[in-house]
Symmetry: D2
Amino acid sequence: MQTVLITGFEPFDGERINPSWEVVKRLHDMELGRVHIVARQLPCVFHHALETLEAAIAETQPRLILAVGQAGGRAEISLERVAINVDDARIPDNQGQQPIDEPIVPGGPAAYFSLLPIKAIVEGLRDAGIPAAVSQTAGTFVCNHVMYGLLHHLQQKGNPRIRGGFIHIPYLPEQAARHPGSPSMAADTVLTALELAIAIALNTERDLQVGGGATH
Amino acid sequence: MQTVLITGFEPFDGERINPSWEVVKRLHDMELGRVHIVARQLPCVFHHALETLEAAIAETQPRLILAVGQAGGRAEISLERVAINVDDARIPDNQGQQPIDEPIVPGGPAAYFSLLPIKAIVEGLRDAGIPAAVSQTAGTFVCNHVMYGLLHHLQQKGNPRIRGGFIHIPYLPEQAARHPGSPSMAADTVLTALELAIAIALNTERDLQVGGGATH
Amino acid sequence: MQTVLITGFEPFDGERINPSWEVVKRLHDMELGRVHIVARQLPCVFHHALETLEAAIAETQPRLILAVGQAGGRAEISLERVAINVDDARIPDNQGQQPIDEPIVPGGPAAYFSLLPIKAIVEGLRDAGIPAAVSQTAGTFVCNHVMYGLLHHLQQKGNPRIRGGFIHIPYLPEQAARHPGSPSMAADTVLTALELAIAIALNTERDLQVGGGATH
Amino acid sequence: MQTVLITGFEPFDGERINPSWEVVKRLHDMELGRVHIVARQLPCVFHHALETLEAAIAETQPRLILAVGQAGGRAEISLERVAINVDDARIPDNQGQQPIDEPIVPGGPAAYFSLLPIKAIVEGLRDAGIPAAVSQTAGTFVCNHVMYGLLHHLQQKGNPRIRGGFIHIPYLPEQAARHPGSPSMAADTVLTALELAIAIALNTERDLQVGGGATH
C-alpha cells in the first residue's frame, strides 16, 4: 500500500485555528482506494517548516505530497502553479522571523512548477460543484517557502514518480465571521476537495490541456 | 401554535437553481420551538412575486415573515436594513419585464426599514461562527421589490406584532464553481443561519444597540 | 445670475485631506455659463454639518446644491440615489459622536430620493471618459446624514425648482498611496466631473430612462 | 549619452487603446538627466512581441529596458517581481494564438526575477503620492511572456550592467468608464510614475530592504 503525505499548518497571524490543519487532520490514517493517508502539522516558521516536512517524507516514503495552507480572503480552492525562490514576509512568522528578499535556497533555481495535475484537479473540483482555480502566485511567506522547499527536495531526490504541490484554501466560516466581508468555505467542502485532489493526482498521468491562465 | 412564513425565489439570471429556495424548502413544515414553519417559493417576477407573497400571508396568518434571496457575489449572510420604493432592473425578470425607475407603490413612502432585529441576528450568527453583516442596500431588482412590498403590506395591515424583513444569501458552492472568483456558502451553513435568524427574530423584543453601519 | 452651492467635507478617519474639499474649493467663485459657484466646507460632524449647510443655503439662495464626500475604496464618481433616515456610525465623527440607529430627523420620512438627474449625469460623465455609476447607498455616516438633511430641508421649503443631491468621490492618488490596493482618481478628473455634473443638473429637465440598478 | 528603452503594447482584448502605449509614446525622445529615452510599441502577439523587443534592443543598445503593460482591474502601478516560463492564454492574442501551458523558452529556467530595484521604485512612487505596489505575478499572457523573454535575453547577453523589468499599469479613466466598477489612473499620473521609475532605476545600486511581500 502506498502512502500519501498531506500537511496543514499551525495557526498564524492572530488566528486561533488554521483551516488547513483543521481539515487535513481529518484525513489522517484514512485509506482512499489503494493508498494510506498520513497527515502532519507544519509549524508556521521559515526553514523549521521545511525540516519538519522533510523528516515526514523520510519517515513515510510517500508517493504523493500535498501541502495545504490558509489563504484568508480567497474564495476558492487554489491550485498553486509555481513557487519562487524568495522569502519576503509581510508579517513575522511564529518565531518572529521576518526575512526580506532572502532566497529560500541560496543558488537554487528562481522557481519550481507544481508537479500536480493542477488543471485536472480544478476541472474535477468544479465538476463536483466545488469552487476552484489555478493560482499564479503562492505569495512570498511560509506557504510559498514550503512549496518551493518541497519541490526543491523532490528535484534533488530525483525520483520522477513522486509528485507534490501546494493547495491554498479559504478561511473557515467561523474565521470569516470575525473578518467582515471575507469569503469562506465549509470544512466539509474543503475535505471533499482534498480527497478529490488526492484521487485525481494519483490517477492522472498527463495534465489536461485546458486554460487556467491570467492576463496579468 | 404560531406560524413563520419563509420564502425563497425561483432561479433567475441564467442560474439552474436559486440558493434561497434550495435552502428555504428544507425548512418547510419544520417545528422550531413553539412555531411551525411554512416555506413558499416566489416567482422572480415584479408584482407577481408580491401577489404570491400576499396570498401566502393571507393563507397562513404568520407572526413572522422572512423573505430570502440570492446575492451572487456577496460572501456573507446579509441582513437588509432598508427597502426603497423603486424598480430599476439591470436584467429582465423571469417574464421579461425590465422597469426603469418606476415606483413599486405609486405614492408610497420612499423606503421602509426592516422590522427584523437585524443587529441581534448579525451578532447571533457571528457568535455561531457564521459570516453575517448588515447590508445598507437590497438593490433595485425583485428582492428589493419584495422587501418593500412586504413591509408596505404589513404597514397597511397595521398589526405591529407581525414582523418581517429580507435576508440575502451568497451563491451555493455549486454555483460559484461556474463563476470563478465568486464567494459561496454551504447550504447547511445557510440553513443553520436561517433557523437562528427565525429564533432570534421571535425572541428579541428590542434590537441590540451595536454598530452595523457604513461610512459610504 | 443664479448660484450653485457646492460643499466638501473636512478630513476624517485619520486622513490629512478630504478629496471632496480639495476639489470643491477649486470651484469657488467660478462662473459656469450663467451661474456663479459658491464652495463651502462642511465639518464632518453629525447635525453641525447640517447647520452649516442650511446657513449657507440661507445666505446664498442657490438654485442647485451639490454635496460632495469621500468614499475611500470606491473607484468611480458615485451618484447617490437615496438617503435614509438613520445615523449608524462605524467610526466616531470629528467631535467624537458615534450614534447608533438614531433617526436624523425624528418622525421624518424613511428616505429621500436625490433630486439630481443621476442617470443623465452618469451617462454624461462616461461619455466624457470619466468612470461613474449610480450608487444605491450613501452609507449611514455623515455623508448620508448630510444628503438626507439637505433633501429634507428642500422638501420643507417646498420650492420644487431647487434641486440637490450627493456625489461620492474616490480617494485622491496621494491618499491611495498610503492605502495599498485602493483605487483613486486624479483631482483634475474629479474637477471636470463636478463641472459636468453641475452643467447637466442645470440643463436636464427630466432624467434619462436608462438603467442604473443593481440586482442586490 | 545613454539610452533607456521603454515599451508599451498595442490594444488587445477588445480595447480601442492600450494605456501603456498611450503613456509610453509621450516619453519618446525625451531626455531625462543624462539619458535619452526611446519608446517602442510591441504587438500583443506571443513571440512576435519578443522579436520586436530584441530588435529594438539591438538597435538602441539601452542601459535600461522598461516594458510596460495594461493590467485592467488593478488600481496601482505594479512593479512585477518575477516572470515565469509559461504561456497560458485566457484569451487569444492579436494573431489568434492561444497557447496553453507552453514554455516560452523550451529548456529555459522556470523563472527570472526582475532586475529593477522594485522596492525602491515602490517607495519612491508612494513618496510622490502615486499608488504603487510590488506584484508577485505578471500573469501568464503576453506581458509575462515579454518580461520573461526580456530577462532571458539579458541573461544570455551576460552584461550585468544592463537592467530590465516589467511594470503593469491600470486602465485609463476613459477605459474604466466602459468597465463599471474598475479602477483607473490618469495618464499624467502614470507618466510621472514612469519618469520616476526610470530615474530611480538608473540611480539605485542596491534595492531597498523593505517589505513588499504577500502571505499568499
